[in-house]
Symmetry: C2
Subunit: 479 residues, 2 copies
């Protein structure tokens, strides 16, 4: 293939949801834009994370919900239709094809170069194409790195020779392992333990620390742990993996030794042990940065270590918030920032302004699709205190919330509202319980909107819905 060179206003590396949104916004603002992708357009979220994981989890949670409904429970005591679940998952990821995304990209007039993009000095990106050629892309205004993250692996001997699962295999597998070991205690770990247990695996979770979901309010992880145990998951805290091998070749049985000297056999092992930035092979060394590191940015997504402000990093790779929706939010801001600077227009960097991602630190929402569901936004009580705020944490266990008990017999849940006493606003909310995922957005509006608590008294929850827990929280606050 012959080498070519092209010039654009904006070069975006990585066509996951974040890169797509950055490109969409810069193009819509009139800047010529090209996007580079070495895998599938749509990225990790569309094909190996959010979409397939939720496609696996929705039947699990819907069945759990149905089992708590008298009059329906009798029908749903049995197993899921596992082939149907897999088939649906395959549809939700479009069978790992990205024509839809290509079509969309065309519709918004963003150019696409397939291949591995690497920086090659300031404002230069060189793409190694699948055909063996190279395409040099010159960025007049900005390069945006949106390469996201990959699974971080523990430091274990001979791991490179082992066949194992990361989030990719855990979300795309189409056979149910008889025995699955999940290493980790974060979101991927608890969601995949929930899914595969319900699909039929015997699941053992090895968690290095003493709890699950440790970045959230502690009761969240505790309640999820209780339900995982009830579902039959063997949950072992304070346990690290010290060695893993497969006995009898790549298809052999996983043999695992843990830090307490225990031994364990399994058919598959999932490492859900964090994320690492996809910056190891994108040419960072050509602009004086260190490959493999996170790209630190300011509130407008300019990489702080790079002069002249031409390099942006948006989404997971900047380590501000490793969540698809938040990366897309960043993209909705970064695109207009790039455009404003290119066009010499003012950049609004005031708190909650048009061009800064204030919500990254103040109102980051997250839903964990376990049974019970966990949803949180903003600061935990501990985080708020550490930030020097004078706060009060108000808790409620959904007692007397008629809508919760209408939703699920024996509803078990808990809610916490963290109030900034000096400003009279809510800075963090956590809900745990069945059916609370859609309730999170109310909390997100409360926190991001800085709605005064006094005004919340006029925001009436409809009866009987689970949202009436808001009233109980406000009453508990007032005392």
């Amino acid at each position: 293939m012959s080498d070519t060179s092209r010039t654009y206003d904006v070069v975006v590396i990585g066509a996951g949801p974040v890169g797509e949104n950055v490109a969409d916004r810069t193009r819509a603002a009139g800047l010529s834009t090209v996007i580079v992708e070495r895998e599938l357009l749509g990225g990790e979220c569309s094909f190996w994370a959010c979409e397939p994981s939720k496609a696996l989890l929705r039947p699990v949670l819907a069945r759990a919900d149905a089992r708590r409904v008298p009059g329906l429970r009798h029908a749903v005591g049995g197993p899921l239709d596992v082939p149907a679940v897999f088939a649906h998952r395959d549809v939700m990821v479009n069978h790992w094809h990205d024509e839809d995304q290509v079509e969309w990209l065309n519709s918004v007039s963003v150019d696409l170069v397939r291949g591995h993009g690497r920086l090659d000095g300031p404002r230069q990106v060189v793409v190694s194409t699948p055909e063996g050629g190279t395409v040099r892309l010159n960025a007049r205004q900005a390069v945006a790195v949106c390469t996201g993250t990959g699974a971080a692996l523990p430091d274990l001997p001979h791991l490179d020779t082992l066949r194992y699962w990361t989030n990719r295999e855990a979300t795309s597998a189409d056979a149910v392992p008889r025995r699955l070991v999940v290493v980790g205690g974060g979101v991927v770990a608890v969601e995949m333990a929930t899914a595969w247990r319900a699909l039929g695996s015997e699941v053992t979770m090895l968690v290095r620390g003493g709890g699950l979901l440790t970045r959230m309010e502690s009761f969240a992880g505790e309640m999820v742990a209780d339900e995982l145990r009830e579902a039959g998951v063997d949950l072992r805290f304070g346990t690290a993996v010290t060695s893993v091998t497969r006995v009898g070749g790549p298809e052999g049985v996983v043999h695992l030794v843990s830090s307490d000297g225990g031994q364990l056999e399994a058919d598959e092992i999932l490492f859900a042990t964090g994320r690492t930035p996809q910056t190891g092979d994108i040419g960072l060394e050509t602009i004086g940065l260190t490959p493999g590191e996170w790209l630190t940015v300011d509130d407008t997504f300019q990489v702080t270590a790079v002069e002249d402000g031409w390099l942006y990093a948006v989404g997971d790779v900047n380590h501000r918030a490793l969540l698809t929706h938040q990366g897309k939010y960043q993209a909705r801001i970064a695109g207009p920032v790039i455009a404003a600077r290119a066009q010499g227009e003012p950049v609004d960097t005031s708190r909650w302004g048009t061009h800064v991602a204030t919500a990254d630190s103040a109102a980051l929402p997250q839903v964990v699709f376990t049974d019970p569901e966990v949803a949180s936004v903003g600061l935990t009580a501990h985080e708020a205190e550490r930030a020097g705020l004078r706060v009060k944490a108000v808790d409620h266990n959904f007692a007397g919330v008629a809508g919760a008990f209408q939703y699920a017999e024996g509803f078990r849940g808990r809610a916490r509202m963290v109030i900034d006493l000096d400003r009279g606003t809510v800075v963090g909310v956590t809900f745990v319980g069945p059916g609370i995922a859609e309730l999170l957005y109310s909390a997100t509006v409360v926190v991001a909107g800085e709605v005064p608590v006094d005004r919340l008294w006029h925001a009436v929850p409809a009866f009987p819905t689970i949202s009436e827990v808001w009233l109980r929280l406000l009453e508990a606050h007032r005392g």
Copy 2:
């Protein structure tokens, strides 16, 4: 029984949720308080409306949801366990016993007089007790009428001799009529048609007007009508009832003639034809008011036609908002108002102030538990225009909302956001679709909190949840 006379600061007539909350708040503020109830403490909502209706509907909607989930669908094609549904409903209404409420009333030190309370001149209430005695209650500060509403019936010949259903029988029946006629097209009508159809009845709806749920955005009623028809409900618009009889005595077959000359047979007939205030026999004539009329109040719930401000009317009976949660909201305001005036403290009547129910007109939320669910708050586009606002209605059909399609295969829904262009805020929101009930509170906060649309850009919906429709609405607005 001997007659007695007692004096309290506050006399509350009617111990539904509204009366309970008024009494709770006045008592908590230090005012001696007595409450009068002729039926069950807890009222219509607890025993013959919200609670039992939602107990009947939850299995119906959970089954409808489960049928849209691949991998689970195979299990839920069959009928509900109807006896289990009824048994659960009976539990949710505590078998129509009110000990729990009595216990609660004792715990908050509010006195109770059982019997029929009637006004007897200013500040006087006379209660006819079940034992045949009377108790005279003198109110030093205020009398609060919280008697709510009953079913309004159409003006038909010989209706008084007919056995028929109102909301009370429709929510408490424990046998499934083979053929049920529902007269009406409002919330009670569509919810009960949904429930009884799923429980096994052949349901015919006779609707005088041309649509369902006509106080909401028109697409809401249209989508509910479509689904009712798909569920097998025979839906007839523009049809009034002109005569109803039972052939063969009280247990005989209902024979009905409609305005188009059509005839219809059924086993039960439900009149869901509106509500009428429970003021026909509460002594209004002794204070110069007309029995049977709604009690018009100001924003602090004082009955405007009564001098000296001693009479309050809270909840349905004042006709501001015929919804349990809104009546309770009014009670949370009216109680402190009464207390403030009694104690000579200032009353804050500024918009969204402590002592006025601003949300009654600006942010009234409602959920209709049909399939699809309908949820709305604030003004419809039409209402906003009629109020003289310069508004823009933004619609979205959930296309591209990943969380919606994760929730339900083939998700059908629609959302509308009504924006006040002059103030840059949202004045009304309507959602239609499965699983959207808990999403309403976000809209309620947006409307009641008057959160600027610009700030909503920073309120990020978690991916993949149905709430991402907010992003689509905002994008559609920005264009």
